[in-house]
Amino acid sequence: MRLIAENLGGERGGELLFSGLHFAVSSGEALMVTGPNGSGKSTLLRIIAGLLVQAEGMLRLEGAPAAFEGLAAAAHYLGHLNAMKPVLSVDENLHFWQSFNGRGQYSIAEALERVSLGEIGHLPFGYLSTGQKRRVSIARLLVSDRPVWLLDEPTAGLDKASETQFTGLMRGHLTSGGIIVAATHLPLGLEGSTELALGAAA
């Protein structure tokens, strides 16, 4: 499996943020997108997710398993927002995304265990602290069956321990043949990942 971008350009509000990007990420590899605020990191991720249309260039996923028709279907996007309903319990939220996205490697209980939130599945999502919320979103990645992870500042709000734990989870995903594209300001501790620095802007 290989995610390939050729001559990719992205725009926002009629203004070109970046152009002529070339990169290729294979199974087991991670790409770190860095750059100052407003340089277009989130824009790039949303283009890969198919939520925005690129201004120019090409983007494709080669050799994906048959179950995933397009790039968007193979990708799981973890944005700034957690995509969870505060009034539903953590279990209910995860259960919904699991059945909607297709069952992934882990069960809900296992995934919560992996982000050290084993016992709070019954609490309403709205009762959690910021970092706990983020960790539940990470658990969503684990229960869904999507090989390409698109992560937008995934560690915002996490404490030190959870950060290391999350690095371990990313490593696990890579070893099992996944692809990660992450936008970040902080080093995520993944050795051997390539970095894509977007130009300076406002």
Partner: protein, 256 residues
């Protein structure tokens, strides 16, 4: 200034400790329940033996339950409003329990007032329902009970729903005088007050006596049920609190 409020709350918790309330209720309830059954039985016997009215025939017997239900529907809301004041002003911990437990009981009594009233209206007025001021305002009272019940059920955190419900109850109290005086304000089909009014009752004693006994009996019934429902509510809150503690401590691997 915040800390004042907190210490005040603490004092009130000492004064009206739910545990003390539980033991008190446990002692009172059997006696209260027995008395209720006794009075209701006497009232029932008296109302069965009351003479038929020359105008209304045997339907006058409906009065012996209709009127107590109608009174209790209003009394229950009044109690809830006082409890709401207790929640808001004195922050009494039992006030919220009392209001929450009273709402379903009040709704049932209101529904019974509506049902028995309708069953009386068909032979008397020739229709089950008219949109007359008193009937409609009792109907609105019923709606408000249901609204308050749904609101208490919609929020799962009792501390949060307590104040919200209290405020709503108080604002809705406006409806009670409207019910009471609607018959005087708009001329309607419904009977004007004849028992509880200035200048004494106009009702014949042969009806007044069974009515009063039934009214006392149903009032006792209300208080019995209210005490029981309050006790249930306290237990329910304990169960939730204990479940939460259990979950949290299991989380940390330190089962207490």
């Amino acid at each position: 200034m915040m800390s004042d409020a907190v210490s005040k709350t603490g004092r009130w918790i000492d004064l009206a400790n739910p545990t003390r309330f539980l033991s008190l209720a446990g002692g009172i309830l059997p006696w209260l329940g027995g008395l209720t059954v006794l009075v209701l039985a006497i009232g029932f016997w008296m109302s069965m033996n009351a003479p038929d009215d020359y105008q209304q025939g045997s339907t006058v017997k409906i009065m012996f339950i209709h009127v107590p239900f109608a009174w209790l529907s209003m009394m229950c809301y009044t109690i809830m409003s006082i409890a709401a004041l207790g929640t808001l002003v004195w922050r009494h911990p039992l006030a919220d329990v009392s209001a929450k437990a009273a709402a379903p009981i009040g709704a049932v009594f209101t529904a019974l007032a509506l049902i028995t009233g309708s069953l009386w209206g068909k032979p008397m007025w020739g229709t089950w329902w008219v949109w007359d001021a008193r009937l409609t305002s009792v109907f609105v009272l019923f709606l408000m009970y249901l609204g308050i019940i749904t609101l208490t059920r919609a929020m799962d955190d009792p501390a949060k729903s307590a104040k919200a419900t209290a405020i709503l109850t108080l604002v809705g109290f406006i409806n009670i005088p409207i019910i009471k005086f609607s018959v005087d304000w708009w001329n309607t089909l419904h009977q004007p007050a004849s028992v509880l009014r200035m200048g004494g009752s106009t009702l014949d004693p042969s009806y007044l006596k069974p009515l009063l006994v039934m009214a006392i009996g149903f009032t006792l019934l209300f208080f019995t049920l209210h005490l029981m429902a309050m006790r249930n509510e306290i237990w329910r809150r304990r169960v939730t609190a204990m479940r939460r503690v259990a979950a949290r401590s299991a989380d940390r691997g330190t089962v207490s």
